[in-house]
């Protein structure tokens, strides 16, 4: 009976997570720096390679994220830096996925668990976090 109640509670509660990342590049291009887009290139280009970055971080006590598991840090940091290192001027067709975002409910549970752990002299609960980003590195021909 308890198992059924737990299952029902889990099912009805539902777990939703929304993740946001900051702006990429506009079209037509109006700023300098590496061109970043989930779409194609606005000008003729040649492809010079592909890059994939898997950012890793740790969520501590359901409240703080440390490491590189943010979309922004992975795209604007690691992905753009790697593209520049390859001699690229942009990354197009970017695909991204926050592999295991925590819902509010999960964060609350982890925070309560951590509080309980701290009272009994143990460390806070942690969760490994991963963000994967892939893209095509390009050079513009104009």
């Amino acid at each position: 009976m308890r198992l059924i109640s737990l299952t029902l509670a889990l099912a009805v509660t539902g777990c939703n997570a929304t993740v946001h990342g900051s702006r990429l590049s506009n079209v037509p291009i109006d700023t300098g720096g590496i061109f970043l887009s989930t779409g194609g290139a606005p000008k003729p280009f040649r492809s010079i390679g592909f890059v994939q970055v898997r950012g890793y971080g740790v969520e501590i006590a359901g409240m703080a994220d440390v490491g590189n598991s943010y979309l922004d840090g992975t795209i604007r940091g690691s992905l753009a830096a790697e593209a520049a290192r390859m001699g690229g001027q942009g990354v197009i067709n970017i695909e991204f996925e926050d592999e295991n975002p925590s819902t509010d409910l999960e964060r609350a549970q982890r925070a309560m668990g951590s509080f309980s752990n701290l009272l009994s002299g143990r460390g806070p609960e942690t969760k490994d976090r991963y963000v994967t980003v892939t893209g095509e590195v390009i050079q513009f021909l104009e």
Binding site: L10, G14, N26, P28
Partner: protein, 142 residues
């Protein structure tokens, strides 16, 4: 001939179909497309919606982990960001065949985990530039 009946029945239960209609019609409708925009646009950021839950008795989805629920949740995110829509949307979701759902109904004490994720780039169409072509004009050859 009779020996073919059971394989045919089992094979017919191997396909699962999911679909979602776009959220609204009218003058303030948003667009969600898996394509890039042909015209100019302003990037307003990245968004990822993840919904997690379980399928009770193999078929009941009280947490709303299907395409329809995910698209409905994406709608307010687009409006909140002041965007006209989402381009390069990517969808990933767990799907179970009818056969697996029947097994889930029989072994109801092991609910089936279910998850749907939509990612995309929030964009605002730039004034004075051609609108995105999300579907071919009526009567045009495909």
């Amino acid at each position: 001939m009779r020996s073919l009946v059971w394989p045919l029945i089992l094979l017919s239960a191997c396909t699962s179909v999911e679909f979602a209609r776009l959220p609204s019609v009218g003058s303030d409708r948003i667009f969600i497309t898996q394509e890039s925009l042909g015209g100019g646009y302003e990037s307003l950021g990245l968004v990822q919606i993840t919904r997690r839950g379980v399928l009770l008795f193999g078929f009941a989805d009280p947490a709303g982990t299907d395409l329809v629920a995910a698209v409905e949740q994406l709608d307010p995110e687009v409006r909140l960001a002041g965007a006209d829509g989402v381009m390069n949307a990517r969808v990933k979701m767990s799907q179970y065949s009818t056969f697996a759902k029947i097994l889930g109904a029989i072994f109801f004490f092991f609910p089936l985990p279910s998850e749907v994720t939509i990612t995309g780039e929030l964009v605002r169409i730039r004034q004075g530039l051609p609108a995105p072509m999300t579907q071919p004009p009526v009567g045009a050859p495909l």
